[in-house]
Symmetry: C2
Subunit: 158 residues, 2 copies
């Protein structure tokens, strides 16, 4: 397989941009994620691929829940705040306006919409874990168009 | 949980539009899919959620492989050709220009780009199966912008 063609093809997959929140006994955290998709209607299940070795990976598995905050067009700066690892930047939620609902995972007031999930399965998936959760609560803050990875000009794929 | 809010929030997730091909001893088939995403860099893994009870579901598991054809902006009509079930419309590939590479799964000449995967895992996922495959071959037919579900005006989510 040609590595260059593989990278080009995989980077043509379409993604949104989300801030995924976790809550564990150790604390709350959030990270920018693109690999998020629904995987069942009944029951409503959503899968998130989470990079192994990160704080959020450990806390998601410890807390067995996650929230997905759907960002709006123009919110690239908000997404960028949740890029870097907690161990380098400290509490990423310190200056962020958020609230919690059923799972305790952070829900950003500035996002377009959100839902939260209870972890159902954690499948080993190469350098990521594929976390599958059941949607237990959801909300929409306002009407608007979601931010896409293409709009940001960033890549996470290949 | 408010069902209406759950549906609205989940429909704000961003997806592309793909034609997923399968090859089994029984034959070849292809279906339109939106729930497709990469789930690992090393090794390169991609997950596709496939509705249970469909011909493609059975043939994907029997053939243990799938191809993902990435459609281009403006190719809504091509996507629509692969919507309906095989048992109602017959051979969906009869009038389609395709070729095969390593896995035998159909690769559409008119798509923007493609890759094909060998099935690694098939996770039970409510009314779908979450098929995870390792990318073994890939190609890009031309430069272009991928078709998004938002462009089509269709929904598959909620």
């Amino acid at each position: 397989m040609d590595e260059g063609l593989k990278r080009r093809a995989l980077r043509l997959l379409t993604y949104g941009v989300y801030v995924v929140g976790v809550a564990a006994p150790q604390g709350r955290n959030a990270f920018t994620a693109d690999w998020v998709m629904q995987v069942s209607f009944q029951p409503p299940l959503v899968a998130v691929a989470v990079r192994k070795g990160t704080t959020s990976h450990a806390w998601l598995l410890a807390g067995r829940a996650f929230s997905v905050n759907i960002l709006e067009q123009g919110q690239k700066d908000l997404a960028a705040r949740f890029f870097r690892p907690l161990h380098r930047v400290g509490d990423k939620l310190a200056d962020v306006d958020y609230f919690v609902e059923r799972t305790g995972c952070p829900i950003l007031r500035d996002a377009l919409a959100w839902f939260e999930c209870e972890l159902l399965d954690a499948h080993d998936s190469g350098d990521h874990t594929l976390a599958v959760g059941r949607v237990v609560e959801a909300g929409v803050h306002r009407d608007g168009e979601p931010l896409t990875l293409r709009e940001t000009g960033w890549y996470y794929g290949g």
